[in-house]
Symmetry: D3
Subunit: 182 residues, 6 copies
């Protein structure tokens, strides 16, 4: 993977759509026009490039739930298998989930779960050969994958009142955004 | 809204599907069978009830980006309008996004954004008259709505290398899960 | 079909959501809050009723194209069969196509094409047992069905420059909206 | 934008699929085979080109409704923002809405609303780099966008009987279809 | 499960839509009108009932592939977990996959794989509380689930020419269709 | 159509992802990692090629049902027209139906029904210019198309108990998988 040089040709269109000053302002929001109307960004003049984005996030769970996932993992692993599939499908559906996203050809999705003592981390890498970056796809993969984990362990996370005092999703971030894979 | 008494008849089916002990274990994961195979939960015997769930989460942004959203908000508000619509659509699509979810009749979705100095909080309330709870719908609304905000402000959040050092989603949680709305 | 008495309990929620005056104003747009934010309408308190809506519209075509459809109709009829299916699918997908629509249980869809000399009229009737009216479903059926006709006859409607000087969709309207089918 | 020279290489496949005579006939309907069976058109031999299509249409509304939209526009604009998003999503979903359409890479969508005294016009421009034209995408954007406007103003368009005597969609047309954007 | 008494109130509408004679004929195809036009069946007058359908089918595979699935099953089981999820999602999407199907509330889906020497059998049971039967949902679950198995083992089923001489899906059938679950 | 030479560069990724021995094993299942986790296959390094796959299958029906389809065929043909459209749409949706499939640009779909005495055969040919083969698309077209036929003739296939003793789908197979169309 080469050094990243992705500024200015992201999906947002970068400078060609806004007179970038030193301070961000509403006129630099490339998904809105000068009049403030929401818009897609024209990517017709962008070349097809190999692009990659990696996002990550984690879900806080009870220690006993983590144990249950580990046991399941040792046995069949269907909890995480289901979350993996949910994450991959979310990546592929990002063009309809995020209203202003373009549909881009996804060439690869990697999902990586790691179990801590009181949390599960999910890392999703997405690769495309399209005209825009794929960090939104990676983020959708992470948040949906973590939501699927939540769904799969609801029965053991809820307290006696049916609430989720211990459960939460945190630290969702983009680890890397790069172009020109080598 | 009455006191919540939702434990035991959640979408997971609660006790009738697992011999609940005092410690959580893989055999209490109601989305997997005794053999560990992933499954939907049978809700055929559950009554239709009025149910409500509220989830929330926040996205950390640069202060200058918050200003841009405020300016846009004062003007047209299309950044948050787009995120609202993304959140509502995500709520309605949860049955296909989260593999083991049932499709339930959504009767209401409320989205509430509040802008802090360095973050935007999104709160999503979902109501249904179905046979299972709707916290996954509320969570999908929150995470997708925040992802849409991210998408809408990408141009002003990226640094010169096209990375997002300051941006992140945190504190995604279920605030309330209730049944028998009054 | 009984007399219609649908005012005030439509999907919009009617009067209970707005202090209706004699003049329409932005504060009566029930899909926006008092603050102007887009919202779904809460239908949780509405009863399930039998509802019906009928919409219609027409597509202007060259006389020679109408003849081609008639010939096809005499033979196989796949042009109109495809448009019928497109219309029915559009009715079923309205909850995701129109952002603020609820998903309602469609119990029946009738599609009726009539061929004039220079136009094809499509009439779509939709019935539901849900909590809101179904005129948006009927309208989506009509406009999509007519668009499918357009797609199916493109080759014979285009002029030598690849343009459509004669083709157009007009007169899309709601013929009837009723509740309490008898 | 160069002069249009799109005849003969449209999505329909033009002459290579039909022995074009001087009069249109069922044998020139390229979406049906010689036997009259519905079919997609083979675009495998078509080159990728830059293509653009512009469609427009209008919705007739009460003058008081137009005023409400203007007020909303001055304030937040969520009525038209929602319609814009509905139009853009409809453009992206055309490959599944119109049964015989191919999925093509949409590179840009422009939506332009103009408010008259008693009507709102919507103009949608779509650009692609694919193997077929995109006029169906533009038409779907227009009709869906106008249907969303209808949905957003239902409460103020209905008469006391819950009917829509004044509301209608008209004049839906393709303004331009072009290839080889320069 | 009570004795089945489902004839005459199936999704097809049975006798009330056709003058049933002793021999089947085109006029008894309830998804086409008397004029032969495709149509949905009106289920507005049908009561909501508890309904269940079970379908099954099998995929022929190389013995070595069955071994690979068994090994995987012993280890993680992701091949069959993925097929299970594909089957469940196909069940939930039947209303859009099969053009004339209604959307019905699925309350339960059971998937059961059994591995033979040279084939994998999949059995899918679907339950609903809707107005029509759910055998199409069960069939879609079976055929899609088996297709997912095919997809997951492609690398070991193809011969040196990239063909599938040994692979096939057979014996897809409805085992049971019942109403009024007790 | 050139000779097929598709082994080794199929969607599965072939040898580059597994140390192929003489016997198939779980470590050769390219849709699972060495650890057994489900994954998409990275196709980023594969060239775009013209690819074609043909699949077929058949549905066993009562002789009287075949007659009804023939009558309908002579008249309007909407039974098979609907099945054709269902098959084509299923081909286009394969990327979401089969969890590990990539979305590829479908350039052509051919559907061919032939009516025997007691069965209907459906053959579906799919062509793409993408980075992976399209046999899953052809298989999804065949199984869904046959399921649509089943749905369309339910009323005349069911016995007096509402069961389907004579109906079944068999012999679903890939007839051809090829690359480099000439």
């Amino acid at each position: 993977m080469s050094e990243n040089d992705d500024a200015g040709d992201s999906r947002d269109g970068g400078n060609e759509h806004s007179d970038t000053g030193t301070n961000a302002g509403a006129d630099e929001l490339t998904h809105t026009t000068a009049e403030g109307d929401v818009q897609m960004v024209d990517v017709g003049d962008k070349p097809d490039s190999e692009r990659r984005a990696v996002a990550a996030g984690e879900i806080r769970l009870r220690r006993s739930t983590i144990e249950a996932i580990r046991e399941d993992e040792v046995g069949k692993g269907d909890v995480l298998a289901t979350a993996r599939i949910g994450a991959i499908q979310a990546v592929k559906h990002t063009w309809e989930t995020i209203p202003m996203c373009h549909q881009i050809p996804i060439t690869n999705v990697d999902t990586d779960f790691s179990l801590g003592d009181d949390r599960v981390e999910l890392r999703v890498a997405v690769e495309t050969t399209g005209k825009t970056g794929c960090e939104m796809e990676a983020l959708e993969g992470v948040t949906t994958g973590l939501n699927v984990v939540w769904d799969m362990v609801k029965a053991v996370e809820k307290d006696d009142d049916g609430q989720y005092p211990d459960t939460g999703i945190d630290n969702v971030r983009v680890l890397q955004k790069a172009k020109h894979r080598t």
